[in-house]
Amino acid sequence: MKTDAELVASALTGSQDAFRELVVRFERPVYSLIVRMVQDSAMAEDLAQEAFVKAYRSLRSYDASRKLSSWLFKIAHNTAIDHLRRSSPDTVSLDASPDEDGRGGLAAVLADGSVENPAAAAERRDMARALERAISRLRPEYRESVVLFYIEGASYQEICDVTKLPLGTVKTNLHRARKELAQEMTAQGWGTETRRSDGS
């Protein structure tokens, strides 16, 4: 399997297949970041496409000594911010049923039915919804750090590169975000035995 740098080099010589492979490789993390920032699945797809088009156009400026994912996250970050600044944020409720936004919504994407039994599946779905709801209520800069660190596995330094925030600020944001998530989950009744018995 070709490395990211090899694919970038091939794409720069005009290989469409190489660039397509890069898109396939990074479409999930880029989309995952953007959809959690703008909270609209249709808009997130459009913005993720825009981010990849921007990446293609500025592929020559990519520094191969850095991780490609960090560079793409940076472009996704800028694209999401530009969108949020252009328009007043159009939020989609995570509680919305799949029919309400026509595209399934974030909650529908989270409702993974591939879990072993119905009770466990229901609990997992409820918990996923609660967690996503808690994430969506974080401040944007906290939310972005949480998605990058806990979901996409980015390092502190990578988050600094993407957000252009100092290392200390990133660590503080993550710490505070974790506390706020815990408060939100507790407020929703999670983490107690009663909730477990309710869910099962």
Partner: protein
């Protein structure tokens, strides 16, 4: 690996409570609680199904970038000029005009031969050389004047007061540049975005 999500959640929230309780008492215990909380939260996030774009996403991206393929290879400015449509049109027009003009070339030469004598040509050449000499003399005088002014300025700038003023101007310019760049960079920070909700 299927970790029980409820266990992860319980460990995480318990560690957060311990962290809060220990934060003023024991830094080591606080650190331990922090590590447990982080690990449990990571487990919990692993249970979330990945958010993927709808099928065919890569194809739609490729359709959007299709018009720009192949990727621009590193080409010199001369190469880009030669490849440009404008340059090609100009060359084609030039060749066409020259071809048409060839039809009237013999007649044009005959007319010119009657109008212009050899003496005229020599006179024109001599006048051109004299004019060129005058322009060169003028350019040399202007250059000399700049050199004199520059020398005088250099002497005055060597004084301590002038050095201080120059340094202050440079410092102000530098600070302004940094502040401007900072403003432009901050433009994309989350603090400049209305919070969602």
């Amino acid at each position: 690996m299927h970790t029980d999500p409820h266990d992860s959640l319980t460990r995480w929230l318990a560690a957060e409570r311990d962290d809060r309780a220990d934060s003023e008492a024991d830094p080591m215990a606080e650190r331990l609680a922090e590590e447990i909380a982080e690990a449990a939260l990571l487990e919990l996030f692993e249970l979330l199904p990945p958010l993927s774009p709808p099928a065919g996403f890569a194809d739609r991206v490729m359709m959007r970038v299709e018009g720009t393929f192949p990727a621009p290879a590193p080409v010199s400015w001369l190469g880009r000029l030669v490849c440009s449509l404008g340059f090609r049109v100009a060359v084609a027009s030039g060749v066409a005009a020259s071809t048409v003009a060839l039809l009237w070339l013999p007649e044009l030469l005959l007319v010119l031969g009657r109008l212009v004598t050899l003496g005229d040509v020599v006179g024109l050449g001599t006048a051109s050389v004299v004019d060129l000499g005058r322009w060169l003399t003028l350019a040399a005088r202007i250059g000399e004047w700049f050199f004199t002014v520059g020398g005088a300025l250099a002497v005055s700038l060597m004084s301590p007061a002038a050095v201080k003023v120059t340094a202050a101007c440079l410092a102000i310019s530098g600070i302004s540049f940094v502040a401007l760049r900072d403003l432009m960079t901050r433009d994309r920070s989350w603090s400049h975005v209305d919070p969602v909700q």
